[in-house]
Protein backbone atom coordinates (compact mmCIF):
# COMPACT_ATOMS: atom_id res chain seq x y z
CA UNK A 1 0.00 0.00 0.00
CA UNK A 2 1.50 3.33 -0.98
CA UNK A 3 -0.50 5.30 1.56
CA UNK A 4 1.46 7.70 3.74
CA UNK A 5 0.53 7.04 7.33
CA UNK A 6 0.92 9.94 9.69
CA UNK A 7 -0.53 9.28 13.12
CA UNK A 8 1.02 12.48 14.44
CA UNK A 9 -1.57 14.39 12.41
CA UNK A 10 -3.93 14.52 15.38
CA UNK A 11 -1.60 16.84 17.26
CA UNK A 12 -1.05 19.23 14.38
CA UNK A 13 -3.08 22.45 14.34
CA UNK A 14 -6.22 22.34 12.19
CA UNK A 15 -6.81 24.99 9.50
CA UNK A 16 -9.87 26.36 11.31
CA UNK A 17 -7.67 27.74 14.07
CA UNK A 18 -9.55 25.87 16.79
CA UNK A 19 -6.64 23.87 18.17
CA UNK A 20 -5.45 20.51 16.90
CA UNK A 21 -7.18 18.02 14.63
CA UNK A 22 -7.92 16.00 17.74
CA UNK A 23 -9.82 18.95 19.22
CA UNK A 24 -11.81 19.11 15.99
CA UNK A 25 -12.85 15.46 16.31
CA UNK A 26 -13.65 15.82 20.01
CA UNK A 27 -15.88 18.85 19.36
CA UNK A 28 -17.66 16.66 16.78
CA UNK A 29 -18.09 13.96 19.42
CA UNK A 30 -19.62 16.48 21.83
CA UNK A 31 -22.07 17.61 19.15
CA UNK A 32 -22.97 13.98 18.35
CA UNK A 33 -23.71 13.32 22.02
CA UNK A 34 -25.72 16.54 22.45
CA UNK A 35 -27.81 15.88 19.36
CA UNK A 36 -28.36 12.25 20.32
CA UNK A 37 -29.44 13.13 23.88
CA UNK A 38 -31.95 15.76 22.74
CA UNK A 39 -33.25 13.42 20.03
CA UNK A 40 -33.57 10.62 22.57
CA UNK A 41 -35.58 12.82 24.97
CA UNK A 42 -37.95 13.73 22.12
CA UNK A 43 -38.17 10.08 21.06
CA UNK A 44 -38.95 8.93 24.61
CA UNK A 45 -41.65 11.55 25.19
CA UNK A 46 -43.48 11.10 21.88
CA UNK A 47 -42.77 7.38 21.70
CA UNK A 48 -44.28 6.85 25.17
CA UNK A 49 -47.41 8.85 24.35
CA UNK A 50 -47.94 7.09 21.02
CA UNK A 51 -47.05 3.69 22.46
CA UNK A 52 -49.65 4.11 25.21
CA UNK A 53 -52.24 5.34 22.70
CA UNK A 54 -51.80 2.15 20.71
CA UNK A 55 -52.82 0.10 23.75
CA UNK A 56 -55.86 2.18 24.74
CA UNK A 57 -59.33 0.75 24.11
CA UNK A 58 -60.30 3.84 22.09
CA UNK A 59 -60.30 3.20 18.33
CA UNK A 60 -59.37 6.79 17.57
CA UNK A 61 -56.28 6.67 19.77
CA UNK A 62 -55.27 3.33 18.26
CA UNK A 63 -55.54 4.69 14.72
CA UNK A 64 -53.63 7.83 15.58
CA UNK A 65 -50.81 5.69 16.99
CA UNK A 66 -50.92 3.38 13.98
CA UNK A 67 -50.67 6.27 11.51
CA UNK A 68 -47.89 7.94 13.51
CA UNK A 69 -45.78 4.79 13.48
CA UNK A 70 -46.39 3.99 9.81
CA UNK A 71 -45.66 7.57 8.80
CA UNK A 72 -42.29 7.78 10.52
CA UNK A 73 -41.25 4.21 9.81
CA UNK A 74 -41.86 4.10 6.08
CA UNK A 75 -39.66 6.98 4.98
CA UNK A 76 -35.85 6.99 5.00
CA UNK A 77 -34.44 9.13 7.80
CA UNK A 78 -32.54 11.17 5.22
CA UNK A 79 -35.76 12.08 3.41
CA UNK A 80 -37.40 13.00 6.72
CA UNK A 81 -34.51 15.32 7.57
CA UNK A 82 -34.85 16.96 4.15
CA UNK A 83 -38.56 17.44 4.77
CA UNK A 84 -37.92 19.12 8.13
CA UNK A 85 -35.01 21.19 6.83
CA UNK A 86 -35.94 22.22 3.28
CA UNK A 87 -39.68 21.65 2.91
CA UNK A 88 -41.27 22.62 6.23
CA UNK A 89 -40.11 26.29 6.22
CA UNK A 90 -41.64 26.71 2.73
CA UNK A 91 -44.99 25.25 3.71
CA UNK A 92 -45.39 27.41 6.81
CA UNK A 93 -46.72 30.98 6.63
CA UNK A 94 -44.05 33.35 5.34
CA UNK A 95 -43.03 34.90 8.65
CA UNK A 96 -42.77 31.56 10.47
CA UNK A 97 -40.80 30.05 7.59
CA UNK A 98 -38.36 32.94 7.57
CA UNK A 99 -37.90 32.66 11.34
CA UNK A 100 -37.17 28.93 10.98
CA UNK A 101 -34.65 29.49 8.22
CA UNK A 102 -32.77 32.15 10.18
CA UNK A 103 -32.67 30.14 13.38
CA UNK A 104 -29.08 29.90 14.62
CA UNK A 105 -27.92 26.27 14.77
CA UNK A 106 -30.76 25.22 12.46
CA UNK A 107 -29.03 21.92 11.51
CA UNK A 108 -28.72 21.00 15.19
CA UNK A 109 -32.40 21.58 16.03
CA UNK A 110 -33.55 19.97 12.78
CA UNK A 111 -31.38 16.93 13.38
CA UNK A 112 -32.54 16.51 16.97
CA UNK A 113 -36.21 16.86 16.04
CA UNK A 114 -35.93 14.77 12.87
CA UNK A 115 -34.03 11.91 14.48
CA UNK A 116 -36.20 12.22 17.59
CA UNK A 117 -39.49 11.80 15.71
CA UNK A 118 -38.00 9.03 13.55
CA UNK A 119 -36.96 7.11 16.67
CA UNK A 120 -40.23 7.86 18.48
CA UNK A 121 -42.01 5.43 16.13
CA UNK A 122 -39.58 2.69 17.17
CA UNK A 123 -39.91 3.50 20.89
CA UNK A 124 -43.70 3.42 20.50
CA UNK A 125 -43.63 -0.07 18.97
CA UNK A 126 -41.33 -1.33 21.75
CA UNK A 127 -43.51 0.16 24.47
CA UNK A 128 -46.65 -1.26 22.91
CA UNK A 129 -45.03 -4.69 22.90
CA UNK A 130 -43.91 -4.19 26.51
CA UNK A 131 -47.42 -3.28 27.69
CA UNK A 132 -48.82 -6.12 25.61
CA UNK A 133 -46.48 -8.60 27.29
CA UNK A 134 -47.95 -7.87 30.73
CA UNK A 135 -50.58 -10.32 31.97
CA UNK A 136 -54.13 -9.06 31.38
CA UNK A 137 -54.77 -9.38 35.09
CA UNK A 138 -52.55 -6.39 35.87
CA UNK A 139 -54.84 -3.96 34.12
CA UNK A 140 -57.92 -5.66 35.58
CA UNK A 141 -56.46 -5.55 39.10
CA UNK A 142 -55.69 -1.87 38.69
CA UNK A 143 -59.31 -1.23 37.65
CA UNK A 144 -60.62 -3.38 40.48
CA UNK A 145 -58.61 -1.32 42.97
CA UNK A 146 -60.44 1.74 41.71
CA UNK A 147 -57.55 3.29 39.79
CA UNK A 148 -58.48 5.44 36.83
CA UNK A 149 -56.99 4.62 33.42
CA UNK A 150 -54.32 7.28 33.90
CA UNK A 151 -53.45 6.00 37.38
CA UNK A 152 -53.42 2.42 36.11
CA UNK A 153 -50.85 3.30 33.48
CA UNK A 154 -48.88 5.56 35.81
CA UNK A 155 -48.60 3.22 38.79
CA UNK A 156 -49.09 -0.29 37.41
CA UNK A 157 -48.55 -0.82 33.69
CA UNK A 158 -45.81 1.64 32.70
CA UNK A 159 -43.36 0.96 35.56
CA UNK A 160 -43.47 -2.73 34.58
CA UNK A 161 -43.46 -2.22 30.82
CA UNK A 162 -40.51 0.19 30.79
CA UNK A 163 -38.38 -2.21 32.83
CA UNK A 164 -39.23 -5.10 30.54
CA UNK A 165 -38.29 -3.17 27.39
CA UNK A 166 -35.08 -1.70 28.84
CA UNK A 167 -32.75 -3.96 26.75
CA UNK A 168 -34.39 -3.12 23.39
CA UNK A 169 -34.52 0.54 24.44
CA UNK A 170 -30.75 0.40 24.92
CA UNK A 171 -30.26 -0.64 21.32
CA UNK A 172 -32.71 2.04 20.19
CA UNK A 173 -30.63 4.60 22.07
CA UNK A 174 -27.50 3.30 20.33
CA UNK A 175 -29.38 3.61 17.03
CA UNK A 176 -30.22 7.22 17.91
CA UNK A 177 -26.53 8.00 18.39
CA UNK A 178 -25.66 6.34 15.09
CA UNK A 179 -28.52 8.03 13.24
CA UNK A 180 -27.28 11.51 14.13
CA UNK A 181 -24.55 10.87 11.55
CA UNK A 182 -27.20 11.16 8.82
CA UNK A 183 -27.52 14.85 9.74
CA UNK A 184 -24.18 15.41 8.00
CA UNK A 185 -26.37 15.87 4.90
CA UNK A 186 -28.06 18.98 6.32
CA UNK A 187 -24.76 20.46 7.42
CA UNK A 188 -24.45 19.25 11.01
CA UNK A 189 -20.71 18.85 11.59
CA UNK A 190 -20.86 16.07 14.17
CA UNK A 191 -18.28 13.31 14.62
CA UNK A 192 -18.57 11.77 11.14
CA UNK A 193 -18.71 15.27 9.66
CA UNK A 194 -15.56 16.35 11.50
CA UNK A 195 -13.75 13.18 10.39
CA UNK A 196 -14.80 13.95 6.83
CA UNK A 197 -13.57 17.55 6.99
CA UNK A 198 -10.33 16.42 8.65
CA UNK A 199 -9.87 14.07 5.69
CA UNK A 200 -10.50 16.90 3.25
CA UNK A 201 -8.05 19.28 4.96
CA UNK A 202 -5.24 16.87 5.74
CA UNK A 203 -5.71 14.04 3.17
CA UNK A 204 -5.14 11.58 6.04
CA UNK A 205 -8.29 9.58 5.24
CA UNK A 206 -7.68 6.48 7.26
CA UNK A 207 -6.34 8.16 10.39
CA UNK A 208 -9.40 10.42 10.50
CA UNK A 209 -11.90 7.58 10.04
CA UNK A 210 -10.03 5.27 12.43
CA UNK A 211 -10.24 7.93 15.15
CA UNK A 212 -13.96 8.47 14.50
CA UNK A 213 -14.53 4.69 14.58
CA UNK A 214 -12.74 4.34 17.92
CA UNK A 215 -14.74 7.22 19.39
CA UNK A 216 -18.03 5.64 18.27
CA UNK A 217 -16.97 2.30 19.75
CA UNK A 218 -16.11 4.04 23.04
CA UNK A 219 -19.48 5.78 23.21
CA UNK A 220 -21.18 2.44 22.52
CA UNK A 221 -19.22 0.73 25.27
CA UNK A 222 -20.05 3.46 27.79
CA UNK A 223 -23.77 3.37 26.96
CA UNK A 224 -23.94 -0.43 27.10
CA UNK A 225 -22.14 -0.54 30.46
CA UNK A 226 -24.29 2.22 31.94
CA UNK A 227 -27.48 0.51 30.79
CA UNK A 228 -26.34 -2.81 32.28
CA UNK A 229 -26.09 -1.08 35.66
CA UNK A 230 -29.48 0.56 35.19
CA UNK A 231 -31.00 -2.79 34.20
CA UNK A 232 -29.65 -4.44 37.33
CA UNK A 233 -30.77 -1.50 39.48
CA UNK A 234 -34.39 -1.50 38.29
CA UNK A 235 -34.74 -5.28 37.79
CA UNK A 236 -38.11 -6.61 38.94
CA UNK A 237 -37.78 -9.15 41.78
CA UNK A 238 -39.25 -12.49 40.77
CA UNK A 239 -38.43 -12.15 37.09
CA UNK A 240 -35.52 -14.06 35.53
CA UNK A 241 -33.38 -10.91 35.51
CA UNK A 242 -34.52 -9.91 38.99
CA UNK A 243 -32.74 -10.34 42.29
Amino acid sequence: MNYHWNWGIFFEPNPMGTGTYLDMLLSGLVLTIKTALLAWIIALIFGSIVGVMRTLPSRGAYWFGFCWVEFFRNMPLLVQLFLWFFVLPELLPRAAGLWLKQLPNAPFWTAAIGVGFFMSARVAVQLQAGIGSLPRGQKMAATALGLTTVQGYRYVLLPMAFRIILPPLTSEFLNTIKNTAVAITIGLIELTGQARSMQEFSFQVFEAFTAATILYLLVNAVVVTAMRFLERYVAIPGYITGK
Binding site: M1, N2, Y3, E70, F71, R73, N74, M75, P76, L77, L78, V79, Q80, F82, L83, F86, V87, E90, L91, L174, I177, K178, N179, T180, A181, V182, I184, T185, T192, A195, R196, Q199, V205, F206, F209, A212, T213, Y216, L217, N220
Partner: protein, 230 residues
Amino acid sequence: MLGSFDFDVIRRSLPYLFYEGMTFTLTLTALAALGGLIFGTAIALMRLSGYKTLGRIAGLYVDFMRSLPLVLVIFWFYFLVPYIGQWVTGASRPISVGAFASSLITFIMFEAAYFSEIMRAGIQSISRGQPAAASALGLSYAQTMRYVVLPQAFRNMLPVLLTQTIVLFQDTSLVYVLSIPDFLGAASKVAQRDGRLVEMYLFAAVVYFTISCIASFGVRRLQSRIAIIR
Protein backbone atom coordinates in the same frame (compact mmCIF):
# COMPACT_ATOMS: atom_id res chain seq x y z
CA MET B 1 -47.18 27.66 -0.22
CA LEU B 2 -48.96 25.00 -2.21
CA GLY B 3 -50.43 27.62 -4.57
CA SER B 4 -47.13 27.82 -6.41
CA PHE B 5 -46.68 24.05 -6.37
CA ASP B 6 -45.19 23.04 -9.71
CA PHE B 7 -46.37 19.56 -10.67
CA ASP B 8 -44.79 19.92 -14.08
CA VAL B 9 -41.22 19.70 -12.76
CA ILE B 10 -42.08 16.27 -11.35
CA ARG B 11 -43.69 15.14 -14.61
CA ARG B 12 -40.74 16.35 -16.65
CA SER B 13 -38.18 14.56 -14.51
CA LEU B 14 -40.12 11.29 -14.12
CA PRO B 15 -38.11 9.36 -16.73
CA TYR B 16 -34.81 10.44 -15.17
CA LEU B 17 -36.02 9.75 -11.62
CA PHE B 18 -37.28 6.27 -12.36
CA TYR B 19 -35.08 4.95 -15.19
CA GLU B 20 -31.86 6.18 -13.63
CA GLY B 21 -32.56 6.76 -9.96
CA MET B 22 -35.05 4.08 -9.00
CA THR B 23 -33.26 1.47 -11.12
CA PHE B 24 -30.06 2.20 -9.22
CA THR B 25 -31.82 2.06 -5.86
CA LEU B 26 -33.69 -1.18 -6.58
CA THR B 27 -30.67 -2.94 -8.13
CA LEU B 28 -28.52 -1.92 -5.20
CA THR B 29 -31.19 -3.09 -2.73
CA ALA B 30 -31.68 -6.47 -4.43
CA LEU B 31 -27.99 -7.28 -4.88
CA ALA B 32 -27.06 -6.04 -1.40
CA ALA B 33 -29.85 -8.11 0.15
CA LEU B 34 -28.72 -11.21 -1.73
CA GLY B 35 -25.05 -10.69 -0.93
CA GLY B 36 -25.83 -9.74 2.65
CA LEU B 37 -27.92 -12.88 3.08
CA ILE B 38 -25.16 -15.15 1.74
CA PHE B 39 -22.41 -13.51 3.81
CA GLY B 40 -24.72 -13.21 6.79
CA THR B 41 -25.55 -16.92 6.69
CA ALA B 42 -21.83 -17.72 6.50
CA ILE B 43 -21.17 -15.49 9.53
CA ALA B 44 -24.04 -17.08 11.44
CA LEU B 45 -22.67 -20.56 10.67
CA MET B 46 -19.24 -19.42 11.85
CA ARG B 47 -20.73 -18.19 15.14
CA LEU B 48 -22.58 -21.45 15.69
CA SER B 49 -19.76 -23.69 14.42
CA GLY B 50 -18.45 -24.52 17.90
CA TYR B 51 -14.91 -23.43 16.99
CA LYS B 52 -14.10 -20.77 19.60
CA THR B 53 -11.81 -18.55 17.48
CA LEU B 54 -14.05 -18.72 14.41
CA GLY B 55 -17.07 -17.81 16.50
CA ARG B 56 -15.27 -14.98 18.21
CA ILE B 57 -14.07 -13.45 14.93
CA ALA B 58 -17.61 -13.56 13.54
CA GLY B 59 -19.00 -12.08 16.76
CA LEU B 60 -16.46 -9.25 16.73
CA TYR B 61 -17.28 -8.46 13.11
CA VAL B 62 -21.01 -8.27 13.84
CA ASP B 63 -20.59 -6.13 16.97
CA PHE B 64 -18.12 -3.86 15.20
CA MET B 65 -20.35 -3.23 12.19
CA ARG B 66 -23.42 -2.74 14.33
CA SER B 67 -21.85 -0.06 16.49
CA LEU B 68 -20.86 2.20 13.59
CA PRO B 69 -23.15 4.63 11.75
CA LEU B 70 -23.86 3.56 8.17
CA VAL B 71 -22.69 6.95 6.89
CA LEU B 72 -19.25 6.40 8.40
CA VAL B 73 -19.08 2.87 6.94
CA ILE B 74 -20.01 4.26 3.51
CA PHE B 75 -17.13 6.72 3.73
CA TRP B 76 -14.75 4.02 4.98
CA PHE B 77 -15.40 1.69 2.10
CA TYR B 78 -15.46 4.48 -0.46
CA PHE B 79 -11.85 5.30 0.41
CA LEU B 80 -10.73 1.82 1.40
CA VAL B 81 -11.99 -0.26 -1.56
CA PRO B 82 -9.52 1.25 -4.09
CA TYR B 83 -6.63 0.26 -1.81
CA ILE B 84 -8.02 -3.23 -1.22
CA GLY B 85 -8.43 -3.58 -4.98
CA GLN B 86 -4.81 -2.54 -5.45
CA TRP B 87 -3.69 -5.06 -2.85
CA VAL B 88 -5.74 -7.88 -4.40
CA THR B 89 -4.79 -7.24 -8.01
CA GLY B 90 -1.20 -6.22 -7.23
CA ALA B 91 -1.58 -3.01 -9.22
CA SER B 92 0.91 -0.21 -8.67
CA ARG B 93 -1.70 2.44 -7.73
CA PRO B 94 -5.07 2.31 -5.97
CA ILE B 95 -7.56 1.10 -8.59
CA SER B 96 -10.62 3.21 -9.32
CA VAL B 97 -13.86 1.52 -8.38
CA GLY B 98 -17.16 2.75 -9.75
CA ALA B 99 -19.76 4.35 -7.53
CA PHE B 100 -22.07 1.37 -7.88
CA ALA B 101 -19.45 -1.26 -7.03
CA SER B 102 -18.24 0.74 -4.05
CA SER B 103 -21.71 1.18 -2.57
CA LEU B 104 -22.64 -2.44 -3.32
CA ILE B 105 -19.60 -3.73 -1.40
CA THR B 106 -20.39 -1.35 1.47
CA PHE B 107 -24.00 -2.46 1.78
CA ILE B 108 -23.19 -6.17 1.46
CA MET B 109 -20.58 -5.97 4.24
CA PHE B 110 -22.79 -3.79 6.44
CA GLU B 111 -26.02 -5.72 5.98
CA ALA B 112 -24.24 -9.07 6.43
CA ALA B 113 -23.88 -8.15 10.12
CA TYR B 114 -27.64 -7.59 10.46
CA PHE B 115 -28.70 -10.56 8.31
CA SER B 116 -26.34 -12.84 10.25
CA GLU B 117 -28.15 -12.06 13.51
CA ILE B 118 -31.49 -12.89 11.88
CA MET B 119 -30.16 -16.15 10.41
CA ARG B 120 -28.56 -17.06 13.74
CA ALA B 121 -31.91 -16.66 15.47
CA GLY B 122 -33.49 -18.73 12.68
CA ILE B 123 -30.96 -21.55 12.98
CA GLN B 124 -31.28 -21.56 16.77
CA SER B 125 -35.05 -21.84 16.47
CA ILE B 126 -34.70 -25.28 14.82
CA SER B 127 -35.20 -28.01 17.38
CA ARG B 128 -32.19 -30.12 18.33
CA GLY B 129 -33.83 -33.28 17.06
CA GLN B 130 -33.57 -32.12 13.46
CA PRO B 131 -29.77 -32.05 13.07
CA ALA B 132 -29.61 -35.15 15.28
CA ALA B 133 -32.00 -36.98 12.96
CA ALA B 134 -30.03 -35.74 9.95
CA SER B 135 -26.76 -37.14 11.25
CA ALA B 136 -28.53 -40.37 12.21
CA LEU B 137 -29.51 -40.62 8.55
CA GLY B 138 -25.82 -40.32 7.67
CA LEU B 139 -25.89 -36.76 6.34
CA SER B 140 -22.64 -34.82 6.62
CA TYR B 141 -22.49 -31.39 8.31
CA ALA B 142 -22.76 -29.64 4.95
CA GLN B 143 -25.69 -31.80 3.87
CA THR B 144 -27.44 -31.29 7.20
CA MET B 145 -27.19 -27.54 6.80
CA ARG B 146 -28.05 -27.54 3.11
CA TYR B 147 -31.05 -29.87 3.20
CA VAL B 148 -32.39 -29.74 6.77
CA VAL B 149 -31.45 -26.73 8.88
CA LEU B 150 -31.02 -23.77 6.52
CA PRO B 151 -34.22 -24.24 4.46
CA GLN B 152 -36.29 -24.25 7.66
CA ALA B 153 -34.37 -21.38 9.23
CA PHE B 154 -34.79 -19.36 6.05
CA ARG B 155 -38.49 -20.09 5.90
CA ASN B 156 -39.07 -19.22 9.56
CA MET B 157 -37.15 -15.98 9.23
CA LEU B 158 -38.46 -14.92 5.81
CA PRO B 159 -40.72 -12.14 7.16
CA VAL B 160 -37.89 -10.72 9.30
CA LEU B 161 -35.45 -10.96 6.38
CA LEU B 162 -37.89 -9.10 4.14
CA THR B 163 -38.49 -6.44 6.79
CA GLN B 164 -34.74 -5.96 7.02
CA THR B 165 -34.68 -5.63 3.22
CA ILE B 166 -37.24 -2.81 3.46
CA VAL B 167 -34.95 -1.08 5.97
CA LEU B 168 -32.09 -1.67 3.53
CA PHE B 169 -34.17 -0.13 0.72
CA GLN B 170 -34.59 3.00 2.83
CA ASP B 171 -30.94 3.00 3.89
CA THR B 172 -29.66 2.96 0.31
CA SER B 173 -30.76 6.62 0.16
CA LEU B 174 -27.64 7.35 2.24
CA VAL B 175 -25.39 6.90 -0.81
CA TYR B 176 -26.49 10.53 -1.26
CA VAL B 177 -23.38 11.45 0.78
CA LEU B 178 -21.24 10.23 -2.15
CA SER B 179 -23.30 12.29 -4.67
CA ILE B 180 -24.47 9.12 -6.38
CA PRO B 181 -27.70 9.49 -8.38
CA ASP B 182 -29.88 6.92 -6.66
CA PHE B 183 -33.57 7.81 -6.46
CA LEU B 184 -33.10 10.47 -3.77
CA GLY B 185 -29.86 11.67 -5.35
CA ALA B 186 -31.61 12.10 -8.70
CA ALA B 187 -34.51 13.94 -7.08
CA SER B 188 -32.08 16.17 -5.24
CA LYS B 189 -30.17 16.93 -8.47
CA VAL B 190 -33.34 18.05 -10.21
CA ALA B 191 -34.41 19.96 -7.09
CA GLN B 192 -31.19 21.94 -6.99
CA ARG B 193 -31.02 22.49 -10.76
CA ASP B 194 -34.57 23.86 -11.00
CA GLY B 195 -34.78 25.39 -7.53
CA ARG B 196 -37.77 23.14 -6.74
CA LEU B 197 -36.79 21.61 -3.41
CA VAL B 198 -40.32 21.42 -2.00
CA GLU B 199 -41.83 19.56 -4.97
CA MET B 200 -38.99 17.11 -5.46
CA TYR B 201 -38.43 16.20 -1.81
CA LEU B 202 -42.16 15.81 -1.15
CA PHE B 203 -42.44 13.61 -4.23
CA ALA B 204 -39.45 11.51 -3.14
CA ALA B 205 -41.01 11.15 0.32
CA VAL B 206 -44.31 10.01 -1.17
CA VAL B 207 -42.60 7.45 -3.42
CA TYR B 208 -40.48 5.98 -0.61
CA PHE B 209 -43.51 5.93 1.67
CA THR B 210 -45.75 4.18 -0.87
CA ILE B 211 -43.19 1.51 -1.76
CA SER B 212 -42.29 0.79 1.88
CA CYS B 213 -45.96 0.69 2.93
CA ILE B 214 -46.97 -1.71 0.17
CA ALA B 215 -43.92 -3.88 0.86
CA SER B 216 -44.54 -4.09 4.60
CA PHE B 217 -48.22 -4.83 3.98
CA GLY B 218 -47.10 -7.67 1.69
CA VAL B 219 -44.70 -8.97 4.35
CA ARG B 220 -47.52 -8.99 6.93
CA ARG B 221 -49.75 -11.01 4.61
CA LEU B 222 -46.93 -13.41 3.78
CA GLN B 223 -46.25 -13.84 7.48
CA SER B 224 -49.78 -14.99 8.16
CA ARG B 225 -49.77 -17.26 5.10
CA ILE B 226 -46.51 -19.12 5.67
CA ALA B 227 -46.80 -19.40 9.46
CA ILE B 228 -46.35 -23.04 10.38
CA ILE B 229 -49.00 -24.27 12.77
CA ARG B 230 -47.27 -26.10 15.57
